[in-house]
């Protein structure tokens, strides 16, 4: 990178020049990265606008031109720095690459989904609808009932299990197993949860059973571990001093847990539960198996098939009927609705944790 050969011009001042060269010599101008990226974007934009190259190719062009930076660096700065610059380019591009599907999904779903959105879309079911029209009322109702029931099942179990792990187990062998298996359970494929619910319900109701509540059971299998994990983290964050303060006032353990520890962690727990709901509300596979699909509104989760948003979106895309475009439009509309619900839940979760966490703690 640097050379120690003395410069002939200033023999008397050799040392100073060498140090200066070592510190400053062979460096790209500070603005070099901006310059190269800027040039790349300009070229790509020109190609995209003028020559009508598609977006993917344009992005590829930006990437290719960015590689000029490390090449330039090899010439001026030497190999080590060039490698560093190459990695910087790669790391940054990987981030841009990862953002690409996110924006693409948002743009596509919003673009195609808003077409059908309207009052009718949310207030009509698909009963007796052929071709145009109809709506997702039945699926919306089903999704709310199924997810609601799943929440009712999962939250108490998850909450108490987390309380057991943090407050009662004292790190015994059982708690280590529970913790480990909860982790493993977070990886259960959603379709397996659906099959489990089916296999369970078949024993009681016979072959071909389809029930909304079965969907809730399947979703609970997916939801419980998430609730346990997040609640456990939140309970652990409650300072031990608060428990001690409560004990010292002569408060029994169960009241300490329910009136001091839980309220202190409440915001975090609610955030975790909201995120867990957001996670399962979009699950399709288990509902496809056990809740099935129907065109009519069904308010009773214990009686027969129950539609849900994700299954509706899937089925509308899969079996669009003739002509297909109306059904496909409805699929995008349902997908957009689902996406909005999930994003809304995520937003609520963040807001809850932002505004309701107890403040003034050290």
């Amino acid at each position: 990178m640097t050379t120690l050969t003395p410069t002939p011009e200033s023999p008397g001042n050799r040392g100073a020049v060498d140090v200066q060269k070592e510190l400053y010599g062979g460096q790209l101008p500070e603005r070099a990265p901006l310059l190269v990226i800027g040039a790349a974007v300009v070229v790509a934009a020109a190609l995209y606008l003028a020559a009508g190259v598609n977006l993917m190719l344009a992005a590829l062009v930006v990437f290719a031109i960015s590689l000029a930076l490390p090449v330039w660096s090899v010439a001026v700065e030497g190999r080590r720095k060039a490698t560093d610059r190459l990695v910087t380019v790669l790391v940054t591009s990987s981030f841009v690459l990862a953002m690409f599907p996110l924006f693409s999904i948002l743009v596509t779903v919003i673009g195609k989904g808003t077409k059908v959105l309207g009052i009718d879309f949310f207030t009509f079911s698909m009963r007796n609808v052929v071709g145009e029209g109809g709506g997702i009322y039945h699926a919306l109702v089903g999704t709310l009932i199924i997810t609601g029931a799943a929440t009712v099942i999962s939250v108490p179990i998850g909450l108490f299990a987390a309380i057991y792990l943090v407050e009662y187990s004292e790190g015994n062998r059982l708690s280590r197993w529970i913790r480990f298996l909860v982790d493993v359970m977070t990886g259960i494929p959603s379709i397996v949860a659906g099959l489990f619910a089916y296999a369970l319900f078949v024993l009681f109701f016979g072959e071909g059973v389809r029930m909304g509540i079965g969907g809730s059971v399947a979703l609970s299998v997916l939801m419980i571990p998430v609730v346990v994990r997040s609640t456990e983290e939140m309970l652990k964050l409650v300072p031990n001093e608060l428990r001690e303060a409560s004990y010292a006032l002569g408060v029994p353990k169960w009241r300490t847990v329910s009136k001091v520890v839980l309220p202190t962690a409440l915001a975090g727990i609610v955030t975790g539960i909201t995120l867990a709901i957001a996670r399962v509300i979009g699950e399709t596979a288990p509902l496809l198996i056990i809740a099935g699909a129907t065109d009519s509104v069904n308010f009773n989760p214990f009686d027969g098939r129950m539609a849900s948003l994700p299954v509706f979106a899937y089925a509308s895309q899969r079996n669009p009927g003739i002509p297909p475009e109306f059904s496909i439009d409805r699929a995008w509309g349902a997908a957009l609705t689902l996406l909005l619900i999930v994003m809304l839940l995520n937003l609520i979760a963040r807001l809850v944790s932002y505004f309701f966490s107890p403040k003034g703690e050290r």
Binding site: A161, L181, I191
Partner: protein
């Protein structure tokens, strides 16, 4: 307060009913979780066994269980492994970008953006895959066939719709990216500052610092992140079911044609609605196979994470 300490009643050990109920509830909730997990395995086994032992003419596929399930296992593994190959380098890059290349404050916002990817429901991924990605990929497959057709993976004939196992794998890669990024990011951020500064003080560039200080520290974390991602990819259903155009029983290395092996999960989703009798049992049995595969992968991943916990100085 009363001024006497004498208990009102004589008891040998003092346990309050409130305490007993509360700890009882908590303990049973914990045990219930174990029972649920055991129940998943048990019910799948009970309902699956008739499917495994069923004779070929009892099921719709007309095959006995092993030849029936083998192409599905192959398809599952193939799609998941390709997804992993795509996602691992990107996840490491993104995590490194967030943890060490972007400014700290910006990093958190960028982390949220990546987490948003995790929030997108799989059916939306499926719609996006079939409605946007597949048509965009079709010309690329055409190009691959005509220029790199000598490689068996790209032998063709290229799918005109783009609904290939390659497309499905790309969708899977996007889906598993957030969890892998999140884990890698956590671990990169935990790298002891001293190691990083030691490397920098030796005159290392940022990349050399990453290689000397971050990667050795994070290696097992990256491995377990990859395995967790693999677990997710193996079990993902809808995106694959929607994107992939399948032909039953195919086992091929060709990634860009329209005859693709299905995956276990996608096959269940596609066939369950019309299935009856022993066919249902066979599908449940294939679900059991998937359960066992993902369980083992997750088990291994968590075991790596747990072992790391004991040895890292971070705790």
């Amino acid at each position: 307060m009363t001024s006497t300490l004498a208990p009102r009643r004589k008891r040998s050990t003092v346990v309050r009913p409130g305490d007993r109920i509360f700890s009882g509830l908590s303990t049973s909730a914990g045990i219930l979780i174990l029972i649920v997990l055991a129940g998943v395995a048990a019910f799948l086994t009970i309902e699956g066994i008739p499917g495994i032992t069923a004779s070929p003419d009892e099921v719709k596929s007309g095959q006995s269980f092993l030849p029936y399930v083998w192409p599905l296992v192959y398809g599952t593994l193939l799609a998941a492994v390709i997804a992993l190959l795509i996602a691992v380098p990107v996840a490491i890059g993104v995590a490194l970008f967030i943890s060490h290349y972007s400014p700290r404050k910006l990093g958190q916002v960028l982390g949220y953006l990546i987490d948003l990817l995790a929030a997108v429901p799989s059916v939306v991924y499926g719609l996006w895959g079939i409605g946007f990605l597949a048509p965009k990929m079709a010309p690329i497959y055409q190009w691959l066939e005509s220029n790199l057709g000598f490689i068996p993976f790209f032998a063709g004939p290229a799918s005109a719709t783009g609904r290939t196992i390659m497309t499905a794998s790309i969708v899977l890669a996007v889906m598993i990216l957030p969890i892998m990024t999140a884990i890698c990011r956590e671990i990169f951020l935990q790298t002891p500052r001293l190691h990083e500064e030691a490397a920098l003080a030796l005159g290392a560039t940022r990349w050399e610092m990453a290689r000397m200080a971050i990667f050795p520290y994070a290696r097992s974390g990256i491995v377990s992140a990859a395995m967790l991602g693999l677990g997710r990819a193996l079990g993902e259903t809808l995106a694959v079911a929607m994107v992939l155009s399948v032909s039953a029983g195919t086992v091929t290395a060709n990634l860009i044609s329209s005859t693709n092996p299905s995956t276990i999960a996608a096959n269940i989703a596609l066939s369950f609605g019309e299935a009856s009798g022993k066919t249902v049992n066979a599908l449940i049995a294939s679900g059991l196979v998937l359960f066992v595969i993902t369980f083992l992968v997750n088990f291994a991943a968590r075991a790596v994470v747990d072992r790391r916990k004991d040895f890292s100085g971070a705790n």
